[in-house]
């Protein structure tokens, strides 16, 4: 969830940078700085999306408390 929030923020930041940069009101130094920052954000966001480390968990309720346990795929009978 934390990941999601920062992803959303990063994409919005990136969109803002693209706007600023295309606005053409920055000095060369500022532009290069923004460009570098933008490229970093774009790479970071793409990386987040292309990450392949998903977790599959089972939400169980025990004594009124929810807990997560690892889900073993392919177990159990067909319904």
């Amino acid at each position: 969830m934390k990941e999601k929030q920062s992803f959303e923020d990063d994409v919005k930041k990136l969109q803002k940078i693209v706007e600023e940069l295309s606005g053409g009101k920055l000095t060369l130094g500022e532009s290069l700085k923004k460009y570098e920052e933008g490229i970093k954000l774009a790479q970071g966001c793409s990386q987040t999306l292309e990450e392949a480390q998903r977790k599959v968990e089972l939400l169980m309720k025990k004594d009124g408390h929810a807990s997560l346990s690892k889900f073993e795929e392919g177990s159990g009978e067909k319904d």
Binding site: E3, G24, Y35, A42, E50, V56, L59, E73, G76
Partner: protein
């Protein structure tokens, strides 16, 4: 018994009495099933037909007000279930069923119950488009309400693993069919809401018959979906009928696979959006740099121009100074020539030259003034006479004036 002791009804009276008996017995309405025959549709909009089975026939009328609600076309030969009351029609001495509701037989009461619940939930606003929540920015964690052993979860996990392996999955288990499944489904949705840390919920099961899917039409499921604070995708897996769960959900699709693909599509559209943004970044920075380059080139031109002018001036100066020295030399030559001729002339005018021809020059000794008139001299004055070579000093003896 003599005739006068017997109670004798008029036809109208007995007809009225029969009507009262029917009213008392069937007044709350009755369900009757049978096959439609003798169907006639009157211009008034009223429908007249008979219901029959193997051994009996029942006359029926369905008035326009009631049959407006009819969801299927009535025709001879179909089996139906009718709800209505028995009425006596005096002018013909007939009783008949005044039909208020009619369902085709087979789907029957359950379908009726479904329609009634649907109507109720619709009126309550559970299907309102204004209540539909948008899907999250990017769902990085999906909650799945389904049987952990079913085909649906396998399909969803398969699609997500291939298409969006960045998405975590939390399964909130529930049976999807059989007695009590609806309560489990509703409970699983509520638990995901309590847990809170999922971006969306997919409620799903694999394909199945309408009967198998009935749990998704239960009110408790519909309300749990409606009350969910997290957006819900319904993927109940059949195409023939739309379930109440589908109607309440924010989005509904036909299969678990299609639900998972929504997430994959979302991820892919973000990736291409990011690629687009990167392209824009590159484009902008290239643009900025080439613009600056052009500016520098333009500036360089304006700087070069005075330098050129300076060179021009220098050249001019060179030309002028060359001309000047040439002119000076000429001037010097002319002057020198003139000086030479003047010297000659000067030499010609020199008194010494005259003296050499035998003339002499006399001056008073007193003031060395040259003597041009005799009157300026007195006898006794000493004078100096300059000759071509040497000089004489003499005293004046006599002055002869003319």
């Amino acid at each position: 018994m003599p005739l006068e002791d017997k109670h004798i009804y008029t036809v109208s009276q007995i007809t009225q009495e029969i009507g009262v008996i029917f009213e008392n017995t069937f007044g709350n309405g009755i369900w009757v099933e049978g096959e439609v025959s003798n169907f006639k549709s009157a211009a008034s909009g009223h429908l007249y037909f008979s219901l029959k089975d193997n051994t009996a026939v029942l006359a029926c009328a369905m008035f326009a007000r009631a049959n407006r609600e009819l969801k299927f076309k009535l025709q001879d030969g179909i089996k139906v279930i009718c709800f209505g009351r028995i009425d006596v029609y005096g002018p013909r001495g007939q009783y008949q069923l005044i039909v208020e509701k009619m369902e085709p037989k087979g789907i029957g009461a359950r379908q009726l119950a479904f329609e009634q619940l649907k109507e109720k939930l619709f009126k309550e606003g559970l299907f309102d488009a204004t209540h539909k929540r948008p899907l999250p920015f990017m769902p990085f964690r999906a909650g799945i309400v389904t049987s952990p052993a079913g085909a649906a979860i396998r399909d969803i996990l398969g699609i997500l693993e291939k298409g969006a392996p960045c998405v975590d999955v939390v399964i909130s288990p529930a049976r999807v069919q059989g007695e009590g499944a609806a309560q489990e489904l509703a409970g699983a949705i509520e638990e995901l809401n309590q847990f809170g840390e999922v971006d969306l919920i997919i409620i799903s099961r694999g394909g199945g018959s309408t009967e198998d899917l009935w749990q998704f039409n239960e009110e408790v499921v519909a309300r749990a979906v409606y009350n969910s604070k997290i957006p819900v995708i319904s993927a109940v897996g059949h195409q023939i009928n739309t379930s109440l769960c589908d109607l309440v959900a924010d989005i509904f699709v036909e299969t678990p696979t299609a639900a998972a693909k929504i997430i994959v599509d979302k991820k892919n559209s973000f990736l291409s959006q990011l690629a687009g943004l990167r392209y824009e970044l590159d484009f902008s920075i290239t643009d900025i740099i080439s613009l600056l380059k052009n500016n520098i080139t333009a500036l360089r031109h304006t700087i070069k121009s005075p330098l050129d002018r300076l060179h021009e001036k220098a050249q001019l100066l060179d030309d002028l100074s060359l001309g000047l020295s040439h002119n000076m030399r000429q001037l010097i030559n002319i002057t020198r020539e003139r000086a030479c001729s003047l010297t000659h002339r000067l030499e010609a005018l020199s008194p010494l030259a005259v003296l050499s021809r035998g003339y002499s020059l006399s001056m008073l000794m007193e003031d060395e003034s040259i003597i041009k008139e005799a009157g300026k001299v007195k006898p006794g004055d000493k004078i100096k006479t300059v000759l071509a070579s040497g000089a004489l000093i003499s005293s004046v003896e006599e002055v002869i004036k003319r």
